[in-house]
């Protein structure tokens, strides 16, 4: 039943394998998106998404509902796996994002599309140089379009702390992009 709450599905999943399948279908796209924007390529995103769900499945029998949504639990697993992935790939050079289908807003002029593609690529790479928790915040906010309250549950912080972190993250990212000359300095800076 697609309308069942996560809590009901989790309880059922302890005895019925199909119930875990429903939870998977509900969250696979979101977890995949999160991981993709953290690692930057589809191959690793698929691998880490699979590992996230395998780990959730392994622990589902012992999962205890403490009020936080199941989605927050999955994001935390994914976040830890991405952190391990970064550690294991420390020396690996980051290649460009696989999917760069950027549409030019007005006309599909090749030059405009190429320029936007470059700009996007530079921005995504600048995001990946931020500390992990700041990357996490940006992805949850702009890709997953989560509210500050929901992000606070995933990141185990208060809503106020998330707001401040977001402000500092954007300021840091802007500084990074100014150094990369992607955005210009303003008179106030």
């Amino acid at each position: 039943m697609p309308g069942e709450s996560d809590s009901v599905l989790i309880a059922r999943a302890k005895e019925e394998p199909e119930a875990f399948g429903l939870l998977y279908e509900r969250y696979v796209d979101r977890i995949y998106n999160y991981v993709y924007y953290r690692v930057g390529n589809h191959q690793d995103a698929e691998d880490l998404t699979a590992r996230t769900f395998y780990r959730a499945l392994k622990h589902i029998a012992r999962y205890q509902d403490r009020g936080a949504p199941f989605e927050a639990y999955l994001y935390r697993i994914a976040h830890n796996l991405v952190a391990n992935w970064y550690r294991d790939n420390e020396r690996r050079q980051f290649s460009s994002y696989d999917q760069v289908t950027v549409s030019a807003p007005e006309r599909d002029e090749p030059a405009a599309v190429a320029e936007m593609k470059d700009e996007r690529e530079t921005m995504l790479q600048a995001i990946r140089r931020l500390p992990p928790e700041r990357q996490q915040l940006i992805v949850l906010k702009f890709v997953e379009k989560m509210s500050n309250a929901d992000i606070a549950q995933v990141m185990e912080r208060t809503e106020g702390a998330i707001k401040s972190l977001y402000y500092r993250t954007l300021a840091e990212l802007r500084g990074e992009l100014v150094r990369e000359h992607v955005v210009g300095r303003t008179d106030d800076e």
Partner: protein, 125 residues
């Protein structure tokens, strides 16, 4: 300049951008605050434009879903077997304890009977 106001203004702007407008009305910003926030507003707009959702391949989603369901099936079966084994083990242990206690009781009674009968035999002789 009050940083809390800047944080709040940036939050309101971004929530409107991503389609989660709050009930709170926008703050009346000073010229200086607007100047400081303008590049951050612009950056938030760029992030909104460039960070769009991507789709995992349908093959991947289908095959992983199948693998997980198979795995879940095995996991449930294994935990049922384990539970049954624990139950049988506990029952066996319980039975053993019962048998041991019955045997113990019988031995106790026999020993008591023998020790009572000895002094009588001694006095007769």
């Amino acid at each position: 300049m009050n940083e809390e106001r800047l944080v709040e203004a940036l939050t309101i702007h971004t929530e409107e951008l991503i389609g989660q407008p709050k009930d709170s009305s926008p703050l009346a910003l000073t010229k200086e605050e607007r100047g400081q926030l303008a590049p951050l507003f612009q950056l938030a707009e760029q992030l909104h434009q460039y960070m769009y959702p991507v789709q995992p391949s349908a093959d991947f989603v289908r095959s992983l879903g199948q693998e997980l369901t198979d795995n879940a099936r095995r996991q449930v079966a294994l935990s049922r077997r384990l539970r049954r084994a624990v139950l049988i083990g506990a029952a066996a242990l319980g039975s053993l304890l019962s048998i041991a206690s019955v045997v113990g009781a019988i031995v106790f009674v026999i020993v008591r009977l023998r020790t009572r009968s000895r002094p009588v035999e001694a006095s007769v002789s």
